[in-house]
Assembly symmetry: C2
Homo-oligomer: 271 residues x 2
């Protein structure tokens, strides 16, 4: 099921600036038991991403109505919302206030082993570095060649995620997730001021940490320093939280009670 | 006129990875007198861009055949070729060897004042900086949010181009062009090892300089050092070469005989 500007369709104009230039933003939402998880957070981030890129924000009530249509048909799976700046002729220049395009599409839920959640996953470090641009940092925009090339670095199915560094050697995120590290019952997660996507679950975890009176630092985390941490986990809206049990060739992490506590919190969160 | 994978159409699948992630490359070709200028250079860059991004290179003879169809209808204007990695389901991962999509579209030639070519243009420096990533540097890929946001910084029609710096303060390019500077009858153009697009006309100019026994250095050019140059010009496949007569608030450049010599060379170049 795909809705293009509200209508069932499977294609978009070639004049769409998402197609021409990656000129847009997206959200990936988990539908579970007929309910979209963290819906308000996603819609909020969609709005703020559009605003930062000067893209016309689609009406929230229209988007919500379209999401309801999808969920009415599919109670389990993943919904992707893409909002682009709209259609225009050739050239980078755009008319302010251009009507944006939105594409809402449903995919079945990906199947993951329970082991990922319970025991944890193996990860590797990626060769490609993330470029630094504070103007784009945090936004879930459609310029994703770095993530794509990073994900293309390995084919081994037993590796769940690749760890991305910036050009200074700071750990930033996974190709499709945010990262947290644990030491002395404190959480540490990379600062996303220069690059990376500000994840919905990442922000939830920052909130849970406050609720649990657990200190969580947004830090510069050098890749060579990850060996100092006791535990680590990755997170996103589709997978939730997965402990990282290994960064191949670098470090084995223990399973940590704080990770389990955050998983429980996330699972029972009603938002 | 738009050809999508060879067929007249005006839309592309929403599963296209160009639309999903900006996962592709493009070329902008000038058609003049029923002939595509620098065609081989463009096809060569298209191929090398695809190869660097591990995108299936479209058959050159098929692309040429499709270009012939367009030129048969339109003798003057601009052709844009977009090649994306192809269609796929959600997620950054791709299947190696995926069949790429190609979209070839025609636009009328933009109308510019002759003054731009003869007297030169006014430019400004952009606030936004280009992020540095050697893996993507030089490629005319579809991740163009930086160029778009740069072009959105001014509306004044009397300003023809914005000058882009990287995060270190090096001048790299214009939003839609490459830059050259002249001092003591030597050409200087920014190194494009960390960011920027390796332009077709830029590479021609490097070749012409050799033919003319004029030294051309690919340099790190600090923005604060541009005041030291006597003259400057911008270039791309659609506009050719335009002298830069001013960087607003920074520097007025003289008109230089070397720029005119290069313009003549470019105009009479048969390739």
């Amino acid at each position: 099921l795909i809705l293009v500007n509200g209508k069932r369709a499977d294609s978009i104009s070639v004049l769409d600036r998402g197609f021409q230039f990656g000129d847009g933003v997206f959200e990936t939402l988990r539908v579970s038991n007929g309910k979209i998880r963290y819906l308000d957070d996603h819609l909020e981030r969609l709005n703020s991403g559009c605003q930062r890129l000067q893209i016309n924000v689609p009406s929230r009530s229209i988007v919500q109505e379209e999401l309801r249509k999808v969920v009415a048909e599919y109670a389990e799976g993943v919904i992707k919302i893409v909002v682009t700046r709209g259609n225009s002729q050739r050239g980078y220049r755009f008319t302010p206030g251009l009507e944006s395009n939105r594409v809402i599409s449903f995919s079945p839920a990906p199947q993951f082993s329970l082991e990922n959640t319970q025991v944890g996953v193996r990860t590797r470090v990626c060769e490609i570095r993330l470029a630094q641009n504070p103007v784009l940092a945090g936004i879930k925009h459609l310029n994703r060649l770095e993530n794509i090339l990073a994900r293309a670095e390995w084919q081994d199915e037993s590796i769940a995620e690749g760890i991305l560094r910036d050009s200074c050697g700071n750990v930033i995120e996974g190709t499709m997730s945010n990262l947290f590290f644990i030491k002395n019952n404190r959480l540490h997660t990379p600062l996303l001021e220069q690059c990376g996507v500000s994840g919905i679950v990442r922000n939830r975890v920052l909130q849970y940490a406050k609720d649990l009176n657990t200190i969580c630092m947004e830090d510069e985390i050098k890749y060579q320093d990850i060996v100092q941490y006791e535990a680590a986990f990755m997170c996103n809206s589709v997978i939730g939280i997965w402990p990282i049990r290994e960064v191949i060739g670098e470090k084995s992490f223990m399973n940590h009670p704080l990770t389990r506590k955050l998983q429980e919190r996330l699972n029972t969160d009603d938002a």
